[in-house]
Amino acid sequence: MAKVPIWDLPDVPTGELPPHIQLQRTRVFCKSDAPTNTENIQYSGAYASMGVDNSLRLDQFRSNFKVEVMRLNEDDMEFDMIGIDPSIANAFRRILIAELPTMAIEKVLMANNTSVIQDEVLAHRLGLIPIKVDPRLFDYMSENDVPNEKNTIVFKLHVRCERGDARLTEKRRLTVVVLIFNWLVTEWYFKMAMVCYAVTSDELKWLPNGSEFPLATENSASNSTSKPKTYTSFSCSQDSLPQFSKNPITLKHPDIIIAKLGLGQEIELEAHAVKGMGKTHAKWSPVATAWYRMLPEVVLLQEIEDEKATELVQKCPTKVFDIEDVGKGKKRATVARPRDCTLCRECIRGEGWENFVALRRVKDHFIFTIESTGALPPEVLFTEAVKILEDKCEG
């Protein structure tokens, strides 16, 4: 019998996990009915009998952690985070949606509203309009605070639909001419054809000096000489503040339709925007949405050739597989784009396909997508979210 050094005997723990347990630890198996093996083995002593240390060593984390940016524009971004745990990735996602502050319209002072849209519906719509301003320049306003230039933005809307505001198209004019027989109907139709003055969000004008509506006070006679008190007390114009003098505050999209007015209808209102978090109301959420998914991994367990290969390539709706010509006219299927796999499980539907294709997800590789509503660019949003998690730990 050959002498084998004692360290090479098979049942001595070498400090590495056997391959099947390593697979179980790092991959989620997606079978045809449901994903299995989804829990993460977090306990630090989990593999102690194997001699493997499962605990978090910060240096190990630092050396393993990577970020790769795939796509980045003004409004959205997609990036990969490798080597992080799902609980932390989920914490970032939750903070992005609910705990990053933004500015949104909260109080609407109505002076005149003769349109068909009710006051409260109009106020609700105004609240949902995204405002293009950096919320870090403002403070929160609590109930006891006076609205001043540090915590409020004031917008004004004053529109009226006149007979001359023709958004009348040529086609409608022709229709009017054709219906000339019945004069009453024509009169009514002609009037209705004038309807369609759509109030878009670029009609909302920013008032850097604060509110213009005067407060109703008891002794109005004595205040007639001094400046009338308004709903906000701006001590200086927001225009004069350095951050706003070059970039005036505007709305992100100027073409959002707020309301539609008929002939003679008028809307006059003032809207005050304050800082808030998505937790209180979704209008304060700075992302259209933010989501992550784990990297899909598609593995061919056996060689797939010829007809089966063509069948496989056709089955997949996102074109994950490709045919490779091996030579001698034989075709072989390869996995070309596993990242595009949406896990629709078409390739393992049917008899016996599960033995050929294994669908898995890598447990610590997350593909994050963030779509911003416009107040801040998405990379800044993510940095702010990480800062917020840090602040929570400190407290």
Binding site: Q42, Y43, S44, G45, D53, N54, S55, L56, L58, F61, R62, F65, K66, V67, E68, V69, L72, F79, M81, I84, D85, S87, I88, N90, A91, R94, I95, E99, E379, F382, T383, V386, K387, L389, E390, K392, C393, E394
Partner: protein, 105 residues
């Protein structure tokens, strides 16, 4: 707020106000990774109150020490994530800038 017995410092429950799954799950993860911890878990007594109870049991070290250490660990993780992310974004922007310049005739 910490509830535990005076004699046995190694096991106690921490009740945090104004918190939810966001922080509690991440803290539970970092606590679990600490080799001194035998048991840790969190629960939310009622979803309408923003209150979280985190239970920590250790192999002898005072539980509050271990809890503070894992909070520090989580903070260091966040800082590292932030710096790596910033590097990656700057590299991406530089690459894109170089590509844009190359494409110009």
């Amino acid at each position: 707020m910490e509830l535990g017995s005076v004699q046995d410092q190694s096991a106690s429950t921490f009740s945090l106000t104004d918190e939810d799954h966001t922080l509690a799950n991440s803290l539970r993860f970092t606590l679990n990774q600490d080799p001194r911890v035998t048991f840790c878990g969190y629960s939310i007594p009622h979803p309408s109150d923003a209150r979280v109870n985190i239970r920590v049991q250790t192999t002898g070290d005072p539980a509050s020490e271990v809890f503070k250490d894992s909070c520090q660990d989580l903070m260091l993780i966040c800082q590292h994530v932030r710096s790596t992310f910033d590097h990656a974004v700057t590299n991406f922007k530089n690459e894109k800038g170089i590509n844009a310049m190359d494409l110009k005739p």
